[in-house]
């Protein structure tokens, strides 16, 4: 069996979650990866351990990973593959269901465990239940949750790169612009430590109190939906069912109550620390260590204690 992995990338770099998708695919059989756009990314993809072939579609229409041309490309290549896989990030979630519909297949999103070639485990109801599903489709189309599979080593492989012809562009969409947030910190989804703030941070200005602590720990900064909706931080910081799903070694939650939708995004973290004034906050039910107290006292004290 051979799986085709759509390898998504950003600014010339392969996303770490895409390397996790390679690991998932390797559990099913031989792994080919598809790189649309950037030639340097295709070269880098050839070095990923466990990849046996790189398909490179160089055409300019793939530069911005738009769903319509990219799904058409996947469909044109699908004939030779038993599985089509991508990381469950913004690109995979956008493109794969469209390709699946064109292949008349029901996709299986956010897979966290592969039981066998037909059977997969995925969270439902914001992670409050785990469903094991068996697909009767001849071809499986799945997105996999990055935090549930180790990233494949980016080096050690030497796969051939093969150019593939572009597919007919449906020409119904155009890329206009992208606005990325600048950040020197580690990527939220792959950070070893995440320092997260909620409504308890009170304002955009006060949210900065988390930065020295994050710097000390080499951590990414996250936020609850309440903090994002209150305008303390931009929405790509959001951890939760509708934001990023993270599973770091250490997750520190400050002023976060622990709504179901937030817990869905972080409860697979190895160690969870919660600091909250409210002793009844649900976050304490999942925290390994909790401090009942004022975060505006705890955060500076913790930052100082780590110096």
């Amino acid at each position: 069996m051979t799986a085709l992995v759509l390898l998504d990338h950003e600014e010339g770099r392969i996303r770490k979650s895409a390397l996790s998708a390679v690991t998932a695919a390797a559990q099913l059989g031989d792994v080919h990866v598809l790189v649309a756009g950037d030639a340097a990314v295709a070269q880098a993809a050839a070095a990923i351990s466990g990849v046996s072939k790189v398909l490179h579609a160089a055409d300019a229409q793939y530069a911005h990973e738009l769903a319509e041309p990219l799904a058409a490309l996947i469909v044109s290549l699908a004939g030779g593959y038993d599985q089509i896989i991508a990381a469950a990030g913004a690109v995979g979630k956008n493109v794969l269901p469209r390709a699946a519909a064109l292949l008349d297949v029901q996709p299986i999103p956010e897979v966290v465990r592969i039981v066998d070639a037909e059977t997969f485990v995925r969270p439902i109801y914001a992670g409050n239940a785990l469903a094991t599903v068996r697909s009767s489709d001849a071809k499986k189309v799945l997105t996999v949750r990055g935090s549930a599979f180790d990233a494949a080593p980016a080096e050690g492989g030497s796969a051939p790169v093969e150019a593939v012809a572009p597919a007919a562009n449906p020409n119904v969409s155009e890329f206009v612009a992208v606005h990325l947030s600048e950040s020197e910190r580690p990527e939220l989804e792959s950070a070893r430590v995440v320092v997260s703030g909620g409504r308890g941070l009170q304002s955009e200005e006060k949210f900065h109190i988390l930065e020295p602590l994050a710097d000390k720990l080499g951590a990414a900064i996250g936020a609850s939906r309440a903090a994002v909706d209150s305008g303390f931080v931009p929405n790509e910081f959001q951890v939760g069912q509708t934001g990023k799903i993270v599973a770091p070694e250490l997750y520190l939650a400050f002023g976060i109550s622990g709504a179901i939708q937030h817990l869905a995004g972080m409860k697979d973290s190895r160690v969870i620390v919660a600091v909250n004034k409210d002793p009844e906050a649900p976050i304490f039910q999942v925290a390994d260590y909790g401090i009942e107290g004022d975060l505006f006292e705890v955060v500076p004290a913790l930052t100082a204690a780590l110096s």
């Binding site: 950003e10 996303r15 738009l66 769903a67 319509e68 913004a90 690109v91 956008n94 493109v95 794969l96 269901p97 469209r98 699946a100 519909a101 064109l102 297949v105 029901q106 996709p107 999103p109 439902i124 109801y125 914001a126 992670g127 409050n128 239940a129 785990l130 469903a131 094991t132 599903v133 697909s135 009767s136 449906p170 119904v172 155009e174 890329f175 206009v176 612009a177 992208v178 606005h179 990325l180 947030s181 989804e189 939906r225 909706d229 931009p234 790509e236 069912q241 509708t242 990023k244 250490l250 409860k267 160690v271 304490f284 999942v286 390994d288 260590y289 909790g290 009942e292 913790l302 780590l306």
Partner: protein
């Protein structure tokens, strides 16, 4: 331009779902159901586009059991003009739903579909993309902003690390993200008025769509529970535990 908004009846987002003892699924009998929160945002956006004069009519569609008509009445109380209920089993798969919506599209000829980005029960995040694929239309998924001008729709999409603007030819499919808008509450007079708005009932079979499931649920289980943690009295104690017990710093 007509806008069609598909809405789904799901277990209310405030309810903590309980897995059935036999592992066959999640308990829905006797549980409070409401409109999927992302669909409320989709309805709100469609109604706003009508209020701006961009849309002429807003039609809401739900696919599922008879009780989904309550969800459709709610959407009409928010400002949708009429509703279509397509009767089928509870919670059909996105592929089947997308095929039903394609059939509705052929009947209604909308200029725009607005869907929620995902349903909070099956967490699939697929129906909008699949519908766009089946229709061959452009898709503006995870929309944080929607602007219709000159036969095109400009969609600001929420992506990893920021936002992206795409321009789509109409007709098109848009899926709503949380930040697209703040849905309105239906007022009592509007709830009363919504009772008189037209609601057409169809059967999935009559639309020629095969509703057979492609995914069989083998089992549904509770996720592994985290073991109870401890509350510590001081920052010093916390640092000590993180260093020596958890060994994460």
């Amino acid at each position: 331009m007509k806008i069609v908004v598909p809405v789904k009846r799901v277990v209310d987002y405030n309810i903590k779902p309980r897995v059935k003892a036999d592992g066959s699924g999640v308990e829905t009998a006797g549980v409070k159901m409401s409109m999927n929160p992302f669909d409320e945002i989709a309805v709100e956006e469609a109604v706003r586009l009508k209020e701006k004069g961009v849309a002429t009519e807003v039609v809401v569609v739900s696919i599922g059991v008879q009780q989904a008509q309550d969800t459709l009445r709610t959407a009409m109380a928010m400002g949708a003009d009429r509703a279509i209920l397509v009767l089928s089993e509870e919670s059909p798969e996105p592929l089947a739903v997308a095929k039903v919506l394609k059939a509705i599209s052929e009947k209604e000829q909308p200029g725009l579909f607005i869907l929620g980005k995902q349903a909070i029960d099956d967490d699939m995040n697929a129906t909008g993309q699949m519908l766009a694929g089946l229709l061959g239309w452009g898709q503006g998924t995870f929309a944080g902003k929607v602007e219709v001008t000159d036969g095109r729709v400009l969609v600001t999409r929420e992506i990893d690390g920021g936002t992206e603007d795409v321009s789509l030819a109409l007709p098109a499919v848009v899926t709503a993200d949380l930040r697209l808008n703040e849905p309105r509450y239906a007022s009592l007079p509007n709830i009363m008025k919504a009772r008189k708005k037209p609601l057409e009932t169809l059967k999935a079979e009559d639309l020629g769509v095969d509703m057979a499931r492609r995914l069989t649920v083998v089992s549904v289980a509770e996720p592994e529970q985290r073991k109870a943690g401890v509350k510590v009295g001081s920052v010093g104690e916390l640092v000590e535990k993180l260093r020596n017990e958890a060994k994460v710093i």
